[in-house]
């Protein structure tokens, strides 16, 4: 072999080495390296998991794998996940996650292109575990949206990391319940039950239980709602039970209303959520329970619920309470107040009712209720009372409320009273 041959061969080997090494280096550059080397706004994209879609702007929809319904009301693209990062001096300062293609050019945005799902998950998990709050909290979302990666265990692990800020942990717990990979009821329930844990995280756990697919969290939620040890948490669970469309949950809520051993706080929440249901059965149940509830606070919630969601029977029932002189005046006043706030009573009903009321407190309440209505019939009624009610104090009260009305007829009416 000549010296020339050796030199040539060595040179060729070096070129070959370089040819191999350079692309390898580019491939080995991590998302973190690429982001670190950037400045300003950069964007990466990766595939979205099934069920995730968005409009490319800000709306993101996550559908359970069991959910077969379609929402035709907006165009929801099934990916990609696009994460926009604001970078200063190599540090990520803000994260914004979008789903769907970009519809317009954004000045100053550097597109770092597509990255692998797994790489993206590792990168954002690392940020969620190490960055400060706004970035760490927002880094959780792209983890949950990425395709082909099982993330629920990592999200649950992050949620349990007590050294991380509560906002990050809450977001991780939320997405652990949303990713729909496996049944996370048990670990979420453990957090809800853990009395040494931050109350905010336990409250989030109760919420996450209510959001699990197919009502998987309802038994755990029911258990928390029925536990007497911590009424504040039981009340939260009761609220979320009321948002679940589940016959068992409804049954539990009714039991919470009737069981004597249930705390006032939990009972009040159960009455409230049942009252917000449009179901005629739930409304009839609350009306039946009204007298047995005993406290003004609970009765007030029934009155509110019936007035707002009581349907056709609400008016007669409420008027029955209002005109029942055997009842405490405060209960009657509240019934009138809620009736007046709802559509259960027309202004003409109120006007007719005013004429039938004989005690001063109820007449005053009727004037107040009229004052809170915006229709011109209510102003007419107030003007009639202000001009001609036999009771001067009631005339004065009507006058006072007329002063608060924004109706040109009022000034004319008052001028007439003053100048004639």
């Amino acid at each position: 072999m000549t010296r020339f041959d050796r030199a040539t061969r060595a040179a060729c080997a070096a070129v070959a080495m370089l040819a191999t090494v350079v692309p390898l280096t580019a491939r080995a550059q991590t998302i973190a390296d690429r982001v670190h080397g950037a400045s300003g706004d950069v964007e990466i994209r990766f595939a979205a998991r099934p069920g995730v879609c968005g409009d490319g702007e800000g709306s993101v929809n996550v559908r359970s794998r069991h959910d077969t319904g379609t929402d035709e009301s907006w165009h929801c693209e099934p990916g990609p996940v696009r994460v926009r990062l604001t970078v200063h001096n190599g540090t990520v300062r803000a994260i914004h996650t979008l789903v769907g293609s970009r519809h317009r050019e954004i000045a100053g945005l550097t597109d770092l292109g597509a990255v692998g799902d797994r790489d993206a998950v590792q990168y954002f998990l690392s940020l969620a575990r190490s960055a400060d709050v706004p970035v760490a909290r927002e880094a959780v979302t792209p983890v949950a949206l990425a395709d082909s990666v099982t993330v629920a265990p990592d999200l649950l692990s992050l949620a349990n990391e007590r050294s991380r800020p509560i906002e990050v942990r809450k977001n991780a717990l939320f997405w652990a319940g949303q990713v729909d990979e496996s049944d996370v009821t048990a670990p979420v329930q453990r957090i809800a039950d853990d009395t040494t844990e931050d109350r905010r995280l336990r409250e989030q756990a109760v919420f996450v239980l209510s959001q699990l697919p197919d009502g998987a969290g309802v038994p755990a939620l029911t258990r928390v709602a029925r536990s007497n040890a911590e009424p504040w948490l039981a009340a939260k669970a009761t609220f979320w039970l009321g948002q679940v469309d589940d016959p068992g949950a409804r049954q539990t809520l009714r039991q919470l209303v009737t069981d004597r051993g249930v705390s006032e706080e939990v009972k009040a929440q159960a009455v409230f959520v049942l009252g917000q249901h449009d179901s005629p059965d739930d409304q009839a149940f609350l009306r039946r329970q009204f007298d047995a509830l005993g406290t003004k606070k609970l009765q007030d919630r029934v009155l509110m619920g019936v007035a707002q969601h009581g349907g056709p029977g609400a008016k007669a029932w409420l008027l029955g309470i209002v005109t029942d002189s055997a009842r405490p005046i405060e209960v009657r006043k509240q019934a009138l107040f809620w009736a007046g706030q709802s559509e259960a009573l027309e202004t003409s009903d109120l006007t007719a009712l005013y004429g039938r009321l004989h005690d001063d407190a109820m007449q005053r309440q009727a004037i107040f209720v009229l004052s809170q209505r915006d229709d011109s019939a209510a102003t007419d009624a107030l003007m009639r009372i202000a001009r001609s009610d036999p009771e001067h104090d009631l005339r004065k009260q009507a006058m006072f409320w007329l002063g608060q009305k924004n109706d040109p007829r009022v000034a004319k009416f008052l001028a007439d009273i003053l100048e004639h």
Partner: protein, 264 residues
């Protein structure tokens, strides 16, 4: 003997220099810190020397005061001169407190003694015109409390032109009070009113309040008509009160006419 004559002449010269200085100059000459001055108050005004002032139906509370103190305080409400303490920094008045009677004897207080009510009003209203509301409101109050003087023309100007909106409102309020006193033939602070209203009067009084709550374009013309022409002086007084609260330029015009004697 010659020495005695010289001393008398020197004292007379000194007194002449002080008298020649305006109150504003004397306050400025006192330098930064606290400056105290007193002047005669209107009949009917009393106070506890510190935080509370009363006049007729009106009480003004400054500092900490609770309803439980009312009885005790009323016993301590004594007539006295208006005492104003100005806090100045960089030759500018930054705070002003108004009291009736009492004294601030702190070592940092420069006491200008008793000044004429006329000079005090002139100085205070001039000060109010260019000051923040913190100084302006109290300067207006102090001027209104001053005896034997008619601050209304200056107050009318102040109501229209003061730098601070709150000071303009304060001036308008007091003009309304003065106009109400004029139409009812009473004094600003001297008369307690425990009138026995009939039911109808009470309803009309409520109607006055109700109309005052309506938009100014609707309410002010009606309130002005009531204030000018209603037969019931109490109703006119109420109309003037709410006009005073409105800050509306038409109300200031009416107050000006009433206080200048064009209307009663």
């Amino acid at each position: 003997m010659r020495y005695g004559i010289l001393m008398t002449a020197a004292l007379a010269l000194g007194a002449g220099r002080a008298a020649g200085q305006s109150l504003a100059q004397r306050v400025r000459s006192a330098g930064d810190g606290r400056v105290q001055l007193r002047f005669a108050s209107r009949p009917g005004v009393c106070g506890d020397g510190r935080s509370t002032i009363s006049g007729g139906d009106r009480n003004f509370m400054r500092g900490n005061w609770s309803a439980d103190d009312a009885g005790e305080w009323r016993r301590r409400c004594e007539p006295g001169p208006v005492r104003v303490v100005l806090r100045t920094a960089n030759a500018s008045v930054e705070r002003l407190s108004v009291n009736i009677g009492g004294s601030d004897s702190g070592s940092d207080v420069h006491d200008l003694g008793t000044v004429s009510a006329h000079d005090a009003v002139e100085y205070l209203l001039d000060l109010a015109g260019g000051s923040s509301h913190r100084v302006g409101d109290d300067a207006v109050l102090a001027a209104v409390l001053a005896d034997s003087t008619t601050p209304w023309p200056s107050l009318i100007t102040l109501a229209r032109t003061a730098q601070s909106h709150d000071t303009r409102e304060s001036a308008t309020f007091w003009l309304g009070q003065a106009a109400a006193a004029r139409v009812t033939g009473t004094t600003l602070f001297g008369d307690h009113h425990d009138t026995d209203e009939s039911d109808d009067e009470a309803v009309r009084g409520e109607a006055i309040f109700a109309i005052s709550q309506q938009p100014h374009d609707e309410s002010v013309p009606v309130l002005i008509r009531v204030a000018r022409t209603n037969k019931d002086p109490e109703l006119r007084k109420k109309a003037l009160f709410w006009l005073g609260q409105s800050g509306d330029p038409r109300a200031i015009d009416l107050f000006s006419q009433i206080l200048n004697g064009a209307e009663r």
